[in-house]
Symmetry: C2
Subunit: 253 residues, 2 copies
């Protein structure tokens, strides 16, 4: 019997809480998930260092089954840039599962394989008959959607916008048209230091009646959501932080 | 100071676990969320009866701040069918928050206002300057997406398909085209007893190379995900349960 590939959620405070001041994992993760994480001896991770920090937080609640230095953590290879199809073979990463051991997959924040690396490994697991089990945990995208009050019956996540001004403006108008045609909320993200630039571009290119919601650092102290028409955002701007992750949601009015 | 509108996640075992046999809430919800829920005296709910059942499970972990029968639970009005714009005034539901008390919003499973009622109330809260705070919890849509191994960098949730055969077939082809054009995973759901009919329609109308993932009853015992090409689904069918919720995900190959 092969082991399983467990998709282990991380908290959403990556890069937000100052080291040593993190809240207990049980503020945002189920204890059942923490217990499962404490039992795993093999991990595939977006980042080994942050995974060790995560496991220390696990250990504070539920003792790890073996010492941290004996837990195997292998980093996901990054897909080589500009060489589509050049993805390295992921099968070796699944070795522990093929040998009958449960294997954890974790990213730096939220659910692995959603707006984060990991999907190729999940696909490789399915192809080899390894059971894939996602564990309950938060997603900043869906928390931002819930908090927006925008359409939660139809929505799309489109990732990052182009950085070049003209291309970005065109993409913003395209998303607004898509949103109007299908009544579909469009969710997007940006690298934190570009949050203010993305907000300025959205306010410049969206129509006044379109609704825009911005959620910052949800589930952490000081997390916030403002959901308002573009017209009211313009009349009364809210500056965005440049050091905290934000999720932007828009719905054509 | 007004109170806040807290978006409280529910477990994903609605209609799955048999009454009395539910696992502890801490298997799928963070203890921090359970503690917050135990303190709330006012709720707006998709369903009052299931909210009382939820509060009994809360009480088993963290004693409720007041007896269950003294906790106010108001049901969300259902939007009148076929009368767009006839939505009742939701402002009275926000009364406790306007008087300075925190108010919980909860649905029968997962996050409120995502593939569930509640977005109009969230919007009404924003319009009145009431802070909206989403609490960390699981979403069956994103767990299914993570477990699918399909594209998690670009995806859309499109809700239910039409029931009529011809319309459904046309919509399936439209979603496949959308998925191919944008490389976008398409997520859909169905009422459990129609799961087999939806699977049959997907297999009949999608191309063999399109990848299809079906997750059933995630986070509950016996929860499962199969992710495979349409060709392999056809060659080796897996029957779907008619009494457990499923999430379907497709990505044109």
């Amino acid at each position: 019997m092969p082991g399983r590939l467990l998709l282990v959620p991380n908290t959403l405070d990556f890069g937000v809480a100052s080291a040593g001041a993190e809240p207990g994992l049980d503020e945002t993760l189920p204890l059942g998930v923490v217990r499962t994480a404490a039992r795993l001896g093999h991990w595939v991770a977006e980042n080994a260092k942050t995974t060790r920090a995560f496991l220390k937080r696990v250990d504070a609640l539920v003792p790890l089954v073996r010492p941290l230095q004996e837990i195997a953590i292998v980093e996901l290879p990054r897909p080589p840039k500009g060489r589509p199809g050049g993805m390295p073979d992921l099968a070796p990463l699944l070795g522990p599962a093929l040998q009958g051991l449960d294997l954890g997959l974790i990213s730096e924040a939220g659910l692995p394989a959603v707006a984060d690396p990991g999907a190729a490994l999940v696909q490789a697991a399915h192809a080899r008959g390894i059971e894939v089990v996602p564990l309950a945990g938060p997603s900043s995208l869906l928390l931002a959607l819930a908090a927006s009050g925008l359409n939660g019956q139809s929505f799309a996540f489109v990732g990052y916008l182009p950085i070049e001004d003209g291309e970005r403006a065109a993409r913003i108008r395209e998303l607004e048209t898509l949103s109007r045609r299908a009544g579909q909320t469009q969710l997007l993200i940006e690298t934190p230091y570009r949050n203010p630039a993305l907000l300025a571009a959205l306010l410049a290119h969206l129509q006044e009646s379109t609704r825009l919601s911005v959620s910052c650092a949800l589930t952490t102290p000081g997390g916030s959501t403002r959901s308002d028409s573009v017209g009211r955002w313009k009349a009364k701007p809210t500056p965005l932080p440049v050091d905290r992750p934000a999720v932007f949601a828009l719905l054509a009015g």
